[in-house]
């Protein structure tokens, strides 16, 4: 493992522990929502982690189509896999928070629906990718897919600003009129949120994607070794 990746991995693990401590212990308990409000310190940063990962996947797709190295395709794949895991964390923690606050696990709210569509879109990426035998065609098709798929990320990000009929709260800025479960971005909230957001936006997706990229590299080496062995 490269020394830089090892350092990033250590920094990510320590940072994750530190942000968990801030969210679970340093930030005060929301007196109206209770302890479950602390899920927010994972829920919202997880979405932005997915945003970074899917964004890098989009970048990888563009680079492949621009005729750059095929290695960018590995970056796109790593971005989708890591981003999907983060998006699932966002979706699951949101549903768990909603149960005591909205009295339901799920509702077909615009934000929730778009987040679910985003997850399904990227899950389909992984399934479709596995269906290609021709490597070149796979790279081209999946690059186009990753570019188009990013539209679902943007829709999920902006839908509560576009469609006012949502009950999903907005923490930074004014919440929609029908929002349920809002809370103020006080000093305690910001203290726990800012480091967590930075960690999930940068260190976590980059570190995990780098590990996934290396895995794909090794898989390619294995395939080459297999071909070589067969040809001999």
């Amino acid at each position: 493992m490269p020394r830089l990746l090892r350092a990033l991995t250590i920094a990510t693990v320590l940072g994750f522990a530190a942000t968990l401590y801030l969210g679970l212990f340093a930030a005060g308990t929301d007196i109206q929502q209770g302890a479950v409000q602390r899920i927010f310190y994972i829920h919202m940063p997880a979405f932005f982690g997915a945003f970074t990962a899917f964004g890098l996947s989009l970048f990888g797709g563009i680079m492949v189509l621009a005729g750059k190295s095929a290695d960018w395709d590995k970056l796109a794949l790593a971005g989708v896999e890591v981003g999907l895991a983060f998006a699932l964390i966002n979706l699951l923690t949101g549903a768990i928070w909603a149960r005591p606050i909205w009295n339901t696990w799920w509702t077909w709210d615009p934000r929730l629906t778009s987040a679910a569509i985003m997850c399904l879109t990227y899950a389909a990426y992984l399934m479709l990718r596995a269906g290609f035998d021709d490597t070149e065609r796979r790279r081209t098709f999946m690059s186009v897919y990753s570019i188009l798929g990013f539209v679902t990320v943007l829709i999920t990000l902006f839908i509560i600003r576009i469609v006012p009929e949502t009950i999903h709260p907005v923490i930074v800025g004014a919440s929609p009129q029908n929002a349920q479960g809002s809370f103020e971005a006080t000093s305690g909230v910001m203290l726990a949120l800012a480091p967590s957001l930075l960690l999930w936006l940068t260190l976590m997706p980059i570190t995990l994607m780098w590990h996934r990229y290396r895995l794909e590299d090794r898989l390619e080496s294995l395939n080459r070794a297999k071909l070589k062995a067969l040809s001999e």
Binding site: A11, G34, I42, E81, I89, L92, T93, M190, A192, L222
Partner: protein
């Protein structure tokens, strides 16, 4: 290189912590709340805060009145209300002057009012909470006046007036009807606009909130009934219990750890599989050679 990167990461975290503090300057100032171990009530400005860890209590020397909120380990709300008054005032309560029920947003409240003795009156609201009861009480110890604070469901929720409920409350309190009092207009308080009816030595206030009427009655030497009604009303409507949903927090953390753990484990398993296959190919190749 590694140490330098770790130092840079630590520096970024420290900077963010400082930024978090700076962002606090923008936070909105809200009504100050008293947070006890079991519940929350707004702090009454101008009242002496005598609260302990388990009891929220505010006293006004000017009005000789006390507002207290607490949770007691009795499942029967009326019994809990009597127990609170008995232990607090060290006196057995007689039959209530008023005894009723009202459904508010957070449950069914029992509404009771007592004439404790010549100098003391008590108004209590109590509801079930888990294995116990929430009791919010108002006690006035002014020998020159009797005061009663009640909450009644509106008899007709299409009306935006508390007059019918004031009429209902006046009978057990003073044995009179609302028609015997003069309409003295409205008075604006932080809790809302109260209608005022009065005659010499008797005053009645009422305010509609939701489908309920909040009533304040005073007999004798009339004082600032609006201030008492406002303080009690804000305590009632501002009272809430912080829910215990820590199991959902644990579930949320478990879900996040499970997904991240599965992702990292899948990297590990796949990497090990590749390594084993590479080793196998190498062995087969060397065997052939």
């Amino acid at each position: 290189m590694t140490a330098r990167l770790l130092k840079a990461c630590a520096l970024v975290f420290v900077l963010l912590l400082a930024l978090g503090g700076a962002a606090a300057q923008d936070s909105v100032q809200t009504v100050p709340y008293l947070q006890t171990s079991g519940f929350n009530v707004p702090v009454l400005a101008g009242w002496d805060n005598q609260s302990t860890d388990a009891i929220a209590q505010f006293y006004s020397a000017e009005y000789k009145a006390t507002i207290r909120a607490q949770i007691v380990a009795l499942e029967d709300p009326p019994a809990a209300a009597r127990t609170v008054l008995a232990s607090w005032l060290d006196i057995e309560t007689g039959p209530p002057v008023y005894n009723g029920k009202v459904n508010l947003a957070d449950g069914t409240w029992h509404v009771l009012a007592f004439d404790i003795n010549a100098a003391t009156t008590a108004s209590v609201m109590a509801r079930r909470h888990g294995q116990g009861s929430v009791v919010i009480s108002f006690v006035e110890a002014a020998p020159e006046a009797r005061t009663m604070l009640l909450t009644l469901a509106q008899t007709d929720d299409a009306l935006n007036t508390a007059a019918p409920e004031i009429d209902l409350a006046l009978d057990p309190f003073a044995g009179v009807e609302l028609a015997q009092l003069d309409d003295a207009g409205n008075i604006d308080m932080p809790s809302g606009q109260w209608q005022v009816y009065e005659r010499p030595r008797l005053r009645a206030l009422g305010m509609v909130f939701g489908n309920d009427s909040y009533i304040a009655l005073q007999e004798g030497e009339l004082g600032n009934l609006a201030a008492l009604a406002d303080a009690y009303n804000r305590t009632l409507l501002g009272f809430f219990v912080t829910p215990d949903n820590s199991l959902y927090l644990a579930l949320g953390l478990a879900a996040a750890f499970a997904v991240l753990g599965l992702l990292v484990l899948s990297f590990f398993w796949r990497s090990r599989g590749i390594q084993q296959e590479l080793a196998l190919i190498e062995t087969l190749t060397s065997d052939e050679e």
